[in-house]
């Protein structure tokens, strides 16, 4: 842990320093160029520096597409600011492009007049051909509208690494840090956090550690020494609530939340999973923390993953499986089994672009219907969602709270944007976290497998306990005894009871909160990872005097009790979703109100401006009609 770093002293002298509220930078290059690492380092550094940060990693599904190809471009965007940030920015103020393919696929997102740093050495005829460039964009005038800085990164990096013992390709692999060093200088970022990371990561390989450190410093000092750049930029620390902070990604937060829930319950955490993008990092994270009585089980397939979770829950563990949409498709039957056997399990779906294999590394919200309806029979489960990377921590705990209190499967929806995106997180005091209370029948308690408490939950009697031996399974159960039962009235009653149990969860969740006036012309209603973009767009419109408010659903089944009341106080409701309007259909049907659907299916989050212009369109339409 460190205390907040001081701004790197701006070089004394004549270099002007421009102060800005927020800056968006994107690194892009080959998927083997270390762009994700460079971006992550700058994110952590900026957070430690005291800025608010928001990130958008964007990488291809192929691990190493052919070098220099358009398909192989990997990018990492981060926004850092002296103000509260909820999005990684619609457009980038500075673009670092390590080769022609990266430049070509990313230049459209650079603001006019923006800073463009290119690795000039990579603009060979061969690389230009791979990027399908007929002319060299560095020379053909197409980049005239930007501040273009042509840096021979490869040559300078090789020079910087020359006395470290690393040569050739090994030395070339440090070029991401050379570029990062240059950007650190340009934006007044301290080098210490990254130098510390290099020391920790490569301590056992002194040559690699030394080369990376020299590359970073080389880039930094190049910026400082050369008179190439007309100015530097300064983004002051943000005013942030006191506390101890770290950056956290959605997948890390999900993993830690699950672990914290089990810790609170005094239970073993069982995580049964099969590797799948973009959920695998949850498995990786939990596998590191076995000391917390965490059992990670990498199953042979998605079905074994979820059935092992059902078995572990039956045996008394806090059991959870994590996957993405294609995995949920395979797990559907076993989730139905958990509905029928009324066992507390959690299913995390880190949504990605579909259908089928779809866009494995891109984000989408199109598995909502799958979560709500994707099983045979009347098969209700609780469905909740996380709004920001850090919110994944709270919602993971909440998932287990509901699962154990109501003896039901709970599906937690996150997505690729939340999973890989990061933000500063005020580290909670473990004592302040919600308590997960577990109740197993005790010797002497009256017991029937399907007797119900006031929440309609059945008792969780676990194998190993004398006196409560019982059998459960996927066949319909007689209410109370739990014996196999084909009686028509019993089935009718059980179907309705399972639904009523999920509905009852609404009494234990917070009301839907409105940001802004409680009534007005327009409510923008969202769920999941669109939170940041919606909140930012609505605030901007409110600042322009528009009568617009926002609300965000974290609980989808059941919905918060006041949802209908909230919606009916607005003339119109707009719902942005990264699907074709799945929640819109539900809201319309449930509350018999019209809803305007704003949809985007590009594998990337909404831009703030897209939501803003829709709000403006609706409000001005409302005025003229």
């Amino acid at each position: 842990m460190v205390t907040a770093a001081k701004p790197q002293d701006a070089k004394k002298g004549t270099m002007p320093v421009v102060e800005l509220e927020a800056i968006t930078v994107r690194f892009c290059g080959d998927s083997g160029d270390g762009m994700q690492l460079a971006g992550t380092q700058m994110t952590n550094t900026s957070a430690i520096f005291g800025n608010d940060v928001s990130t958008l990693p964007d990488y291809p599904a192929e691990i190493r597409a052919p070098a220099g190809s358009l398909a192989g471009v990997s990018g990492f965007q981060l926004r850092f600011g002296s103000v509260k940030l909820r999005t990684p920015g619609d457009q980038v103020d500075a673009l670092v492009a390590m080769n022609p393919a990266a430049l070509k696929t990313n230049i459209a997102d650079l603001v006019p007049g923006g800073v463009l740093v290119v690795n000039e050495d990579a603009f060979s005829d061969a690389n230009l051909a791979k990027a399908h460039c007929d002319t060299n964009p560095l020379d053909d005038g197409s980049l005239d509208g930007y501040q273009l800085f042509r840096i021979p990164v490869d040559k300078l990096n090789t020079e910087a690494c020359k006395d470290t013992g690393l040569t050739g390709r090994a030395a070339a692999r440090c070029r991401n840090f050379y570029a990062l060093g240059l950007i650190y200088w340009l934006y007044g970022r301290p080098m210490e956090p990254t130098l510390r990371w290099v020391e920790t990561k490569f301590g056992s390989k002194p040559a690699v550690a030394s080369a990376n450190a020299k590359a970073l410093r080389g880039g930094y000092y190049f910026g400082e020494t050369t008179e190439m750049f007309p100015s530097r930029f300064l983004v002051k620390p943000a005013k942030i609530a006191p506390g101890t902070y770290r950056t956290i990604s959605g997948n890390e937060a999900t993993a830690l939340g699950l672990l914290a829930a089990a810790n609170s319950a005094g239970k073993t955490l069982f995580y049964g999973s099969y590797p799948i993008t973009p959920a695998s990092d949850i498995l990786h994270e939990l596998a590191k923390h076995k000391n917390f009585s965490v059992c990670t089980f990498q199953a042979e397939d998605e079905i074994a993953a979820v059935t092992s979770v059902v078995g572990a829950a039956f045996a008394g563990a806090l059991a959870v499986t994590g996957t993405s949409g294609p995995g949920v498709a395979l797990k559907a039957e076993a989730i139905g089994l958990a509905v029928m056997t009324e066992l507390p399990i959690v299913i995390v779906n880190v949504q990605r672009g579909g259908p089928s294999t779809g866009l494995p590394t891109k984000t989408e919200q199109a598995d909502l219907n799958q979560a709500l309806y994707g099983r045979n029979g009347e098969s209700p489960v609780c469905v909740i969602s996380a709004s920001t990377p850090a919110d994944c921590f709270d919602m993971a705990i909440e998932a287990f709270r509901i699962a154990c209190e109501f003896m039901t499967p709970v599906i937690l929806l996150t997505d690729g944007y939340l999973a890989n995106g990061a933000e500063p997180w005020r580290i909670p005091n473990p004592a302040s976290l919600p308590q997960i209370k577990i109740r197993h029948p005790k010797p002497g308690d009256s017991y029937q497998p399907y007797q119900r408490d006031d929440k309609l939950a059945r008792p969780w009697a676990i194998p190993g306990t004398p006196g409560f031996e019982h059998r459960i399974g996927g066949l319909e159960k007689s209410d109370g005894s739990g014996d196999v039962c084909y009686d028509p009235d019993n089935h009718d009653n059980m179907v309705r009871t399972r639904r009523a149990k999920i509905d009852g969860i609404a009494s234990t969740i917070p009301d839907l909160q409105v940001r802004g006036d409680k009534s007005g012309e327009l409510l923008v209603l969202g769920w999941g990872s669109t939170y940041g973009m919606i909140a930012t767009a609505v605030e901007a419109c409110q600042a322009k005097g528009m009568k617009v408010s926002s609300a965000h659903l974290k609980y989808i089944d059941p919905l918060p009790k006041n949802t209908g009341d909230v919606l009916k106080r607005f003339d119109r409701v707009l719902m942005p979703e990264m699907n074709l309007g799945q929640l819109v259909v539900l809201i319309r049907a449930r509350f018999l109100i019209d809803v305007v659907s704003l949809t985007k299916m590009q594998g990337k989050p909404f831009m703030v401006c897209e939501i803003e212009s829709k709000i403006e369109e609706l409000i001005s339409n409302g005025k003229t009609s």
Binding site: M1, V2, T3, A4, A47, I48, G50, P193, W197, P242, G243, T244, Y245, R246, L256, L259, N263, T268, G272, H289, K290, N291, F292, S293, C295, F297, A299, E300, D301, I303, A304, T307, S308, V309, V310, G311, F314, A315, G316, A317, A334, L337, I427, P428, N429, P430, P443, Y447, I462, P463, G464, P466, G467, F468, E469, H470, R471, I472, G473, G474
Partner: protein, 339 residues
């Protein structure tokens, strides 16, 4: 409450639940149920520490008839559920009851992986070479040419041999027994339950409705001595009513020989259930009627760490070397203080 006491010796009846048994009269499952209860008596199994997990199929109704913990799961997935149960609580004795369709068709993948991990569970595969619950379609163990409702001209599928599959996945305990051979059945069940690791038992089970007498060759009084061969550890492979025939290895190929005329037991293949190398056990699993007597008994019984033990060793070692503290964990990595 009617908790077990460790000092009370239970009888077979004590393991029976109050549920009416719904298998067809004459089904081989009844004999197996009875012998499992007897085996539990012999093992001194505590009801509350015993869990029966099943998939879907006639045999998979088994847990409902046992007064232990039980889970009747979904088709093919009993091994996944059982693995979760065993990892969550390694003190439990976990049995899986499955059939040829459940374990080898829809659940084939889980069988391979459970066996290779060596999760400590006892798998009873009731092999009747037919789909019974769905009323008589051919199964993955039905012989080529089998005429059923779904194969009126005869099956064109080549069958799987369950023990070959299990040995191929390097099962640490592999055995075969027969529903009507009750003494042998009880012996094999007790051996299987005592083994630490995945125990895989194929039980020839007669479906008297849809595939009656499929195993008559191995059960009828006048044939069984010539069509089956009882395996005994460290003993030569001898069979026949007069124990006058044996199995000899000719290179890598087994052959049936008549004892006498210069051939003694010393010339025969000796059974070694503890052989680390599974090849001989595999060779035995390839002996099929009518060319060979089919071995019954324990094919293989070797020691190897079980999955859940290795996993929990890691958990316990981690906890002892790095005391869990949530506050410390949450602060891991670069953190900073805002005043």
């Amino acid at each position: 409450m009617s908790g077990d006491s460790a000092t009370v010796q239970l009888t077979a009846k004590d393991y029976a639940s109050d549920q009416e048994i719904r298998w067809c009269p004459g089904c081989g499952d009844y004999a197996i149920l009875a012998q499992v209860k007897k085996a539990l008596v012999g093992l001194g199994a505590e009801r509350h520490n015993t869990v029966f997990v099943s998939g879907i199929g006639c045999s998979s109704r088994f847990p409902y008839y046992m007064n232990t913990y039980g889970f009747h799961s979904i088709h093919g997935r009993a091994l996944g559920v059982a693995t979760g149960v065993k990892i969550a609580n390694p003190d439990l004795h976990v049995w899986v009851v499955t059939g040829d369709g459940d374990a080898l068709s829809i659940g084939g993948n889980h069988l391979l992986h459970t066996i290779r991990r060596n999760v400590d569970i006892t798998v009873l595969l009731f092999n009747n070479r037919i789909y019974g619950l769905t009323k008589g379609q051919y199964s993955p163990t039905s012989p080529l040419g089998k005429k059923t409702k779904s194969t009126p001209q005869g099956s064109v599928d080549f069958p799987l041999h369950p023990l070959s599959v299990a040995i191929g996945a390097e099962a640490t305990f592999v055995a075969r027994t027969i529903d009507v051979n009750v003494k042998h059945l009880e012996y094999v069940l007790e051996r299987a339950a005592a083994h630490r690791g995945t125990s895989f038992v194929e039980i020839y089970q007669n479906c008297n409705i849809f595939n009656d007498r499929a195993f008559e060759y191995a059960t009828s009084k006048d044939q069984k001595h010539d069509t089956t061969l009882q395996l005994e550890h460290n003993r030569p492979l001898v069979f026949g009513k007069d124990r006058d025939k044996g199995i000899r290895l000719n290179g890598m190929t087994p052959e049936v020989v008549a004892l006498g005329d210069g051939i003694t037991e010393d010339d025969l293949l000796f059974h070694d259930e503890r052989s680390a190398e599974p090849s001989l056990a595999y060779l035995l699993s390839r002996m099929h009627h009518p060319d060979f007597p089919e071995p019954i008994g324990v094919f293989r019984c070797v020691e190897r760490s079980s999955y859940e033990n290795l996993l929990w060793d890691q958990v316990k070692t981690a906890a002892s070397t790095d005391a869990p503290d949530l506050g410390t964990l949450l602060q891991k990595g670069d953190s900073w203080v805002v005043d």
